[in-house]
């Protein structure tokens, strides 16, 4: 049985139209139909109140396949490790925004997408779940990119860039400055300040990756740098920006050669950071 017009009924104080599942309607007002309509209508209040809540989990044994024929069977989720499990990779720019542009038509948006796939492979080889904010030539908003990371538990966020300037052949990691740090006053974390509780963790994560990049790419700093990056501000997870220098190279091959090393450094940096990863609010958390 379904109730049509229940919201309208609630709003305007009129009885809803009641439909039986076989398609018949209570088209005539009889004592019986009115009683049933009233019962159903009263029921719609409680169901309406519950409509904002997620549906209760199905009564299934843990690990059992979620299957309700004729729908396709969904494989059971893999048992998750505690702590850091998910890496969200963000190839910057895309779509109508090519980012930095260099000689011979080098476009940052294309290069970072290639780099993202290499980083993904390196991370998946270590057993991490990897999500990408874009897989093609799209340009999600800053908030959409952050939202992907903010929806995960146990995630880190890495946004990938290639600069216009700087010493070619070097790579830098940026995190939000310490002045952006903060502790949420309530249980609700402001979207605009989502990075605030994670600044210290982000710095630790950034230093881990930057140290490995410095070993591979001479001229790169030993520690992560501070920068006020819009993408990081709304990300509620340890978050870093990795920027390779630069599109000013004469040939794209120079940048392509750097990519495996950058991918490996990020993957190893994630692995070395993992023991330090404690979610804010959990026992022993730093922020």
């Amino acid at each position: 049985m379904a109730v049509w017009g229940a919201p309208l009924g609630r709003r305007f104080g009129i009885l809803p139209i009641v439909r039986i599942s076989d398609g018949h309607f209570f088209s005539r007002v009889t004592p019986l139909s009115t009683a049933i309509a009233l019962l159903v209508w009263a029921g719609s209040f409680s169901s309406g109140a519950k409509s904002q809540q997620p549906p209760p989990p199905a009564a299934q044994s843990p690990g059992a396949p979620i299957s309700t024929p004729p729908y396709p069977t969904i494989a059971p989720p893999q048992p998750q490790r505690t702590g850091l499990n998910v890496v969200v990779l963000d190839p910057a720019h895309g779509g109508t925004d090519p980012g930095a542009r260099g000689a011979q038509g080098i476009r940052e948006s294309d290069l970072v997408l290639d780099l993202t796939f290499q980083v993904r492979r390196a991370l998946e080889a270590q057993g991490y779940q990897v999500l990408q904010t874009r897989t093609g030539n799209e340009n999600p908003s800053f908030d959409d990119r952050s939202a992907l990371a903010n929806a995960q538990r146990g995630a880190v966020f890495v946004t990938l860039h290639i600069s216009s300037t700087g010493l070619p052949g070097t790579a830098r990691v940026y995190t939000m400055p310490d002045s952006a740090a903060g502790v949420p006053t309530g249980r609700v974390l402001s979207w605009d300040r989502a990075q605030a509780p994670y600044v210290a963790l982000s710095r630790k994560f950034g230093d881990a990756v930057q140290g490995l990049l410095a070993q591979r790419f001479k001229g790169s700093p030993n520690n992560a740098q501070s920068a006020v990056i819009r993408q990081l501000r709304t990300t509620g997870a340890p978050a870093i920006a990795v920027e390779i220098c630069s599109v000013s190279v004469q040939d794209r091959v120079d940048l392509d050669r750097m990519m495996p090393g950058v991918a490996d450094a990020i993957a190893r940096g994630v692995a070395s950071f993992r023991p330090s990863y404690v979610l804010p609010g959990e026992a022993g958390s730093q922020p």
């Binding site: 720019h93 800053f142 860039h161 600069s163 700087g166 830098r172 400055p177 920068a227 006020v228 819009r230």
Partner: protein
């Protein structure tokens, strides 16, 4: 007598009118072209008009010449800034002084490779609020001509903040607007929705403090934040 006279006058009037029509037919297209040309010259773009209105006052010859410290890219390390001492006649008025040093910063060093801001960038307006918050409004070129990248954009903001810090002690914080609007980012990376710390005692130069009242840090990046003198920003408590 009146009959032939009337006929002669009529003829002359008709000839005169005909001549006027011919002259008008020749002259009108020329006149139209001239009007169009004049209109083009007389109608400057909105930004040009604003530039004319907001150009800094001519340097006062009575202003003392002082050694100003300008922060451009270091010649030894292109990822960092280095101070360069320049002799400038600077006003004692903090707003005029800030305009003078920022215009010098925009003009760039002798070696153009070391500049931090685009050559075609223009400072449109500069306000200094009572709590030490400065609002610098630059032309669109600052964003559109800025080399895209975290490093280049951060160096640009740092150079503005550190140059103000070194030469205009009254400035404690800095809000950057582009053509009177609050932009999400400078050129895709550095966050312009925030206020940058300029004060010497600040823990991070050129960095932000997110501990801002809602009016200063609007939740919607698309919301323009005009900054009139004595406006909402002035009412916010200092940090």
């Amino acid at each position: 007598m009146s009959g032939p006279m009337n006929g002669r006058w009529r003829t002359w009037v008709l000839v005169g009118l005909g001549a006027a029509v011919v002259v008008a037919a020749i002259y009108l297209p020329v006149l139209r072209r001239r009007v169009k040309t004049t209109a083009k010259i007389a109608q400057p773009s909105e930004e040009q008009a604003r530039r004319e209105l907001t150009q800094p006052a001519a340097q006062n010859p009575l202003d003392p010449v002082v050694k100003a410290r300008m922060f451009w890219i270091s010649s030894e390390d292109e990822s960092s800034l280095a101070p360069l001492t320049v002799e400038l006649a600077l006003s004692s008025d903090p707003v005029l002084r800030a305009k003078q040093v920022l215009n010098t910063l925009l003009a760039g060093p002798v070696d153009s490779e070391l500049r931090t801001l685009p050559a075609d960038g223009v400072l449109l307006a500069f306000y200094l609020l009572p709590d030490g918050t400065a609002v610098a409004d630059f032309s669109e070129a600052l964003a559109t001509s800025m080399p895209s990248g975290i490093q280049s954009e951060q160096l640009a903001v740092d150079s503005i903040a550190r140059t103000l810090e070194a030469n205009v002690p009254r400035v404690k914080r800095l809000k950057i607007l582009i053509h009177g609007q609050e932009l999400d980012t400078l050129a895709g990376h550095v966050d312009l929705t925030q206020i940058f710390v300029v004060d010497t005692k600040a823990p991070q130069r050129g960095s932000i403090s997110l501990d801002l009242p809602a009016k200063v840090a609007p939740s919607s990046s698309s919301a323009p934040a005009t900054a009139p003198p004595g406006g909402g920003l002035a009412k916010q408590p200092g940090r």
